[in-house]
């Protein structure tokens, strides 16, 4: 039997878009929109924001870098000058002011003119500084008037109480030998050899390194 379908073309079942296809198309459109949207958000939103931040940060960095470079130059200047100051201080600490030392030694030996306690004098004075340790050795061959050993002891006591005594690392013990010079009044005297070893003004470099 022949069936005649008189419905317009668009109403005929065979020519309609199927709901499946429609749903698929809709779903696909949605997925495409979502993925493109996501890309848009990531690319233009997040990345764009970061690029804007980058521009600002770059500008800020350029400005601060300039000041930072100024600081670097300042610091270089400071190190130059400080290095010289440090060197001066290093050398300065290693020096003993000998005019002061000898002046103080003269005071001790003169003992305010009190010849009763001791009346000493020296034939020579030799000062040697060890270049490595910077310690100093002083040799003073001398005499004390009279024949009383106690006067040598008094001289040693006064040296031990002198302003420079703190710098003495070691000292020869009191000792002496009686001498007589008939051309002098009184003729008797005690000859002695005084040796003073002074501490180094600064710790020797090699010792410091070993200590570290």
């Amino acid at each position: 039997m022949i069936r005649i379908n008189l419905l317009p073309v668009e109403y005929r079942r065979g020519n309609r878009i199927s709901p499946k296809l429609l749903a698929t198309a809709f779903g696909s459109a949605l997925a495409v929109a979502a993925s493109i949207g996501w890309f848009g958000i990531v690319y233009f939103g997040e990345l764009g924001e970061l690029e804007r931040q980058d521009v600002a940060v770059t500008a800020e960095l350029a400005q601060k870098k300039k000041k930072g470079e100024y600081y670097d130059k300042l610091e270089a200047n400071r190190l130059d000058y400080s290095s010289r100051v440090q060197t001066i201080q290093d050398i300065g600490r290693s020096r003993r002011v000998w005019s002061k030392f000898v002046d103080e030694l003269v005071d001790v030996v003169n003992n305010n003119g009190d010849a009763e306690r001791h009346l000493a004098w020296f034939d020579a004075m030799t000062v040697r500084t060890d270049q490595r340790t910077r310690g100093t050795q002083i040799t003073l061959p001398g005499l004390v008037q009279g024949n009383e050993l106690s006067k040598i002891a008094n001289l040693h006591r006064d040296i031990e109480a002198a302003p420079f005594a703190a710098d003495i690392a070691s000292k020869s013990p009191p000792a002496g030998k009686v001498e007589s010079d008939k051309t002098r009044v009184p003729p008797e005297s005690f000859r002695f050899q005084l040796q003073l070893n002074l501490k180094p003004m600064v710790e020797p470099a090699s010792t410091t390194r070993r200590g570290k």
Binding site: L21, L47, L61, W121
Partner: protein
């Protein structure tokens, strides 16, 4: 599309959509990579900013430090120069030799110092050896000059050899010794990293830091010592015992007597200085004591110098006492003037009460006719009357000065040659007259440009001299 069946269409639509989604996801993945990279870059830049900010925060302190160091650089260069500058050093040594009086016999450079290693000190040593003959005091003055020199010089070794014997050379009464000395100076080897950076507003900042700059300059200065000569001490390299049968200078008893005499005089001056410190003194007492003390110090100083020149105190046991008990206290008294003004030194002028006291005493002395004493009182303290106009004591100072002008005028009037040989007093209201230096003058007549006859009485004649009325009695 019409040729595709439904299944094919479904696949086509789905496939295209899937493809687009895949591309979009790929794009997201790629963008995420860019984002990560950008974040890392940003993080780095932020770290750089933080580092720069940390540096920027240090700029004020570093600028301050650099300004202080730079301003003191000249001083550092003097102490530790970068160049050897040995010609200048040698010239300076020569000046020290001359000022100290040592006699140099050799000045030789020592062994050249090894160049410092990479991690060694940033300075090189230059060594010199001196051979000289000098007295102990000359030697001490010489090494003191070296040690106080602006360039850093260190004395490392020295030896003093007593050149004894009866005929040993002497200078200024002191024996000469043989001396050998080794000294070192230094040059800076540190390399500069660049030019001085330009600091904005340098002048203003320097001005703000001037105290700190000065303080730091003091701190960098190396140890110095002020050697003050022998001060009566004996040379410790000379046998102080007297030679048998020979003594230097006057006998010891005489030296003791000289010493006692000067100690007594010094004690008298101390007594005057003591009186000066009493708080209840009048300004005129102060003047008298000050003058007495000043004259006493000057006189004693002359006498002490004479004793020193003649070396009258030569005994070793007395020389130190002489310096410590006579010379130094006298010098001290001279430097302080022996005066201790109880009012302190903040106000250089007389107080109002003292000015009034001066005015009253000048008036009293003028009335008593002791014009010289009145003048002397004013002259003695006139520098303390120079008060500024704004000072409330100004009026009193002006009064005292005006009084002094009158005293001086009266003193000059006294010296005028006025011989009054007779007077004619007219009681009837007419003008009286006087026979003066052989000539007659009537009241109101001018004797000269400065002197006018004002009134004539039986017992006295009134004159006007430089505007001041003065009376001569007959």
């Amino acid at each position: 599309m019409a040729r595709l069946n439904e299944k094919q269409k479904l696949f086509a639509v789905g496939g295209v959509a899937l493809g687009i989604c895949a591309v979009a996801c790929g794009g997201v993945y790629w963008a995420q990579g860019l984002i990560d990279e950008m974040k890392a870059t940003l993080e780095r830049k932020r770290q750089d900013i933080a580092a720069a900010e940390a540096k920027i925060a240090k700029i004020p302190a570093t600028e301050k430090e650099v300004i202080i160091l730079r301003e003191n650089l000249d001083e550092y260069v003097k102490i530790l120069p970068a160049d050897q500058g040995l010609n200048d050093l040698t010239t300076m040594m020569n000046q020290f030799q001359q000022s100290s009086g040592i006699q140099v016999t050799a000045f030789t450079p020592g062994k050249p110092a090894k160049a410092p290693g990479k991690n060694g000190p940033k300075f090189s040593r230059i060594e010199y050896q001196y051979d000289m003959n000098a007295t102990l005091w000359q030697f001490l003055k010489f090494i003191n000059s070296i040690e106080n020199y602006e360039r850093f010089v260190s004395i490392t070794d020295f030896s003093i050899q007593h050149a004894g014997g009866r005929d040993a050379e002497t200078r200024d009464g002191d024996q000469v010794h043989q001396i050998r000395l080794t000294m070192e100076t230094y040059t800076y080897d540190g390399k500069s990293t660049g030019q001085d950076v330009e600091i904005p507003d340098y002048g203003d900042k320097k001005q703000e830091l001037r105290e700190e700059i000065f303080k730091r300059l003091q701190a960098i200065r190396i140890d110095k010592y002020d050697h003050r000569g022998s001060r009566g001490r004996r040379d410790i390299f000379v046998d102080p015992r007297e030679r048998e049968g020979r003594s230097d200078g006057p006998p010891i008893e005489e030296q003791r007597a000289i010493m006692d005499r000067y100690l007594g005089e010094l004690q008298r001056l101390r007594g005057i200085a003591q009186k000066l410190r009493k708080p209840d003194l009048t300004i005129f007492d102060v003047f008298t004591f000050e003058r007495e003390l000043k004259e006493g110090i000057e006189k004693l100083e002359l006498a002490v110098n004479e004793v020193n020149q003649k070396q009258q105190i030569s005994a070793a046991s007395l020389r130190l006492r002489w310096v410590k008990e006579v010379c130094e206290p006298l010098a001290d008294m001279k430097s302080t003037g022996g005066t201790k003004d109880p009012r302190g030194q903040s106000d250089p002028y007389l107080s109002a009460a003292e000015m009034q006291q001066l005015i009253d005493s000048m008036r009293q002395l003028s009335t008593d006719g002791d014009l010289e004493a009145a003048d002397a009182r004013f002259e003695a303290i006139s520098p303390r009357l120079l008060v500024p106009e704004a000072d409330p004591r100004y009026a009193l100072a002006v009064t005292a000065k005006a009084l002094h002008v009158r005293v001086k005028t009266a003193m000059e009037f006294k010296t005028l040659d006025l011989k009054i040989q007779g007077v004619l007093v007219n009681h009837d209201g007419g003008r009286s007259g006087v026979l003066l230096n052989g000539e007659t003058y009537e009241e109101g007549d001018y004797i000269n440009d400065e002197l006018m006859l004002r009134r004539v009485e039986e017992e006295q004649v009134w004159f006007v001299f430089r505007g001041l009325t003065l009376i001569r009695t007959l």
